[in-house]
Symmetry: C2
Subunit: 433 residues, 2 copies
């Protein structure tokens, strides 16, 4: 479905076409209070202001719920459920459509346009949701295979359970930050001398890495003890964001046996600020990677095509401003879909809350220029990434900036994109004496 | 230090002596709104009511903060910091002391006594804190050794990192429930036939276990990127509760490689409702177990004696009401202290928030009647626990109730106890088709 043309000038390569309408939380100079907005072209439409000035007059069903747009997170809006998200998104598409009846509320109201249409360059973006719990899965099978090969060889690269269930672990919700927040290099215990594998050193991380991921926000909760069926699980999801799950590989190697990653991951995880709704992604659904394992009942999805053909890329920018694209891949490189992750997460009765975040795991293709982590690109530290300015990298150095971008569709003014997920590495704090 | 005698009749074996004054959240019939209380003898003092009626008139420093006691969690009170907790606790001890000046505000006010002193049997107890993130450590070295021995033999029972850092993993905050909440047996994937280790079956858990733990609530946050030094970390803690980290051993065995426990743990974790403040536990500090490993700087605590001699016991009650005490141990059986756990958790910059929960890991002694999990008591399913009514158990059956109790001191009307942490097993929901 091609969305209508907008009366608002939207650049053809904008991630925020009228086909998108992603939701986020903004504040502005002079109005520091956080509130909801949607991104459209080079603007953010301030939904609190829009609602207060009759912008939603054409959508009677939402009238008693407009206060949600004045809240500092999207949780209350998300909790209204997918049918409401769909109505609001479609209404806003109509508001921005050339010649539509609803367009009058904004297009013909110069004062409201001035007040509610904030240039995005002037909007400060915040975490879109209050995240109760954050879970990170491992659904990128190429990544799991590549990393498993490094440790156990290709024959034993994937653990026995890998194709039977979406492996995941509980992450640290408090460390999730919005794109643009600097990331401080962590200190921790690492093995510096492989010949002394029992003698850790307390030092700044020397193998600081990225993980290119997608992540889904939960909108509709389930009660403790009541699993979410895979067939309807998509309706429990609000939308997707890009994620960079920064990883301290050397800390991870020493700490992760037997209970999994901990300080290697909990110093920071960045997400993009605009939540792209499930309905906006609908036209870009595609098959996930083939799983030849016969799945057990609770993971058998009656619908195929639950992956998304989101084109992803990762840029590394050095402190001198030199930019190098180090990876280009697609989000279709996942073995498990978000509905399957949610069905598995709740099969034992785990309660999900509005605002919970589910990461996909690192998304890698099979070729060297399609990998989602430096660990894979540099083959466990054996090779180097050549940057445009002649420098090389195995892992990140202080001052490096990593930018993830992702979008669906082609550049005809109909892109459904995520914008960027950006973070710059700050030096580690002094070691404690 | 022996606390004063109270004018209120407090049974000599009460966990809630005047030496304790633990904080919790109650509601009552006719006043469903959640609010703060302290436990004292057979009563809960409703702090909202007490504050509204001038109960805190003798504590001028708290006058502008009294609204915290009307909130539905203790988070705002906890966030005021340890010096305030200490003042309030000492003031309330004074209020309940025979012959003290402050005792008049309650003792001589029949109307307020009637309104604010709620018989505990009539108070409904709720989760004391809103838990942002929950982390579970593995600091019970006897448990780690016992379980490690089952899988790798005694020579390799402990992983290389075990004595160098407090191993832990991120748990699931949304699944933490207050004592008394029934626990539904989880469904999941398990290997039923050990000769077919690649063929999981979707079934109700058959090896449902307990884990006897202590847990600490965080009061004072740190900023992302700013570690908490071990020497002052105790002041970042609000208090302790008992915890039962219910565990599905068969689900765990299949799922936990390589990222750690997930659905084996996230169906439910029970905590006791009354938070015993760090200051109340001060007289019961003792040395943790000896660690012969030379610790790195950030884990070297200038103070010894950070463990607590809390006497713990676990009862298993069958659905016919027969009670069997299956374990008696002490919380001193930990290798790592809560300040060390907090220092390690934040060494890489992980931000802690008020209300975050840190579990100790399973607390076991070395003898068979001092173990903190059925897995250890039954030696990985090889032996049985004999119950008082002639039944036997390897793992829990539906209808079983597990009660954890813990207290410091001797029974002379000066006990500092936690009350109980109770949960009853409900049958698993039907399998999905």
């Amino acid at each position: 479905m091609v969305a209508s043309k907008s009366w608002l000038e939207i650049p053809a390569d904008s991630h925020f076409s009228i086909a998108n309408i992603p939701f986020g939380i903004i504040s502005t100079e002079g109005q520091e209070q956080k509130r909801s907005a949607v991104a459209i072209g080079d603007y953010a439409l301030d939904l609190q202001c829009f609602a207060k000035n009759g912008g939603f007059s054409g959508l009677p069903s939402i009238q008693d719920k407009l206060s949600v747009f004045g809240e500092p997170t999207l949780n209350s809006f998300a909790a209204l459920g997918r049918p409401v998200h769909k109505q609001v998104r479609e209404y806003l598409q109509d508001v921005f459509s050339e010649g539509s009846a609803s367009s009058k509320v904004l297009k013909d109201n110069e004062e409201l346009k001035k007040e509610a249409l904030v240039p995005r360059s002037k909007a400060k973006l915040h975490l879109p949701m209050q995240i109760g719990d954050y879970t990170d899965f491992f659904a990128g099978i190429n990544h799991a295979f590549n990393v498993g090969t490094m440790f156990r060889g290709p024959a034993n690269a994937l653990q026995k359970n890998y194709t039977h269930l979406p492996v995941g672990y509980h992450g640290r919700a408090s460390s999730v930050v919005v794109s643009g927040t600097p990331i401080r290099r962590p200190n921790g215990q690492v093995i510096l001398d492989p010949s002394k594998p029992d003698e850790p050193t307390y030092t700044a991380c020397k193998r600081l890495d990225i993980e290119l991921e997608l992540a889904a926000f939960v909108c509709t909760p389930n009660k403790q003890g009541e699993p979410i069926p895979v067939g309807t699980a998509e309706d429990n999801l609000f939308g997707l964001v890009l994620m960079n799950d920064w990883s301290a590989r050397d800390i991870q190697t020493w700490e992760y046996v037997p209970l999994g990653p901990f300080n290697a991951k909990n110093f920071g995880t960045s997400i993009s600020p605009w939540v792209v709704l499930m309905d906006a992604l609908e036209p870009f659904r595609t098959k996930a990677l083939e799983n030849s394992t016969e799945l057990t009942a609770y993971l058998k999805d009656p619908q195929a095509n639950r992956a998304y053909d989101i084109k992803l890329e990762v840029d590394l920018t050095t402190s001198d401003g030199t930019n190098t694209t180090i990876s280009k891949t697609t989000a279709a490189n996942l073995l498990w879909s978000f509905p399957q992750m949610l069905a598995h997460h709740t099969v034992g009765g785990c309660p999900m809350n509005t605002g919970d975040l589910l990461g996909s795991g690192t998304i890698s293709g099979t070729e060297r220029d399609t990998l989602g982590s430096l660990l894979e690109i540099n083959r466990a530290g054996k090779e180097e990434v050549k940057l445009s300015n002649g420098e090389v990298r195995k892992f990140l150095v202080d001052g490096d900036t990593v930018t993830i971008r992702g979008a669906c569709g082609v550049e005809n003014g109909q892109l459904v994109g995520f914008g960027e997920c950006v973070g710059t590495i700050l030096p580690a704090p002094p070691l404690q004496q």
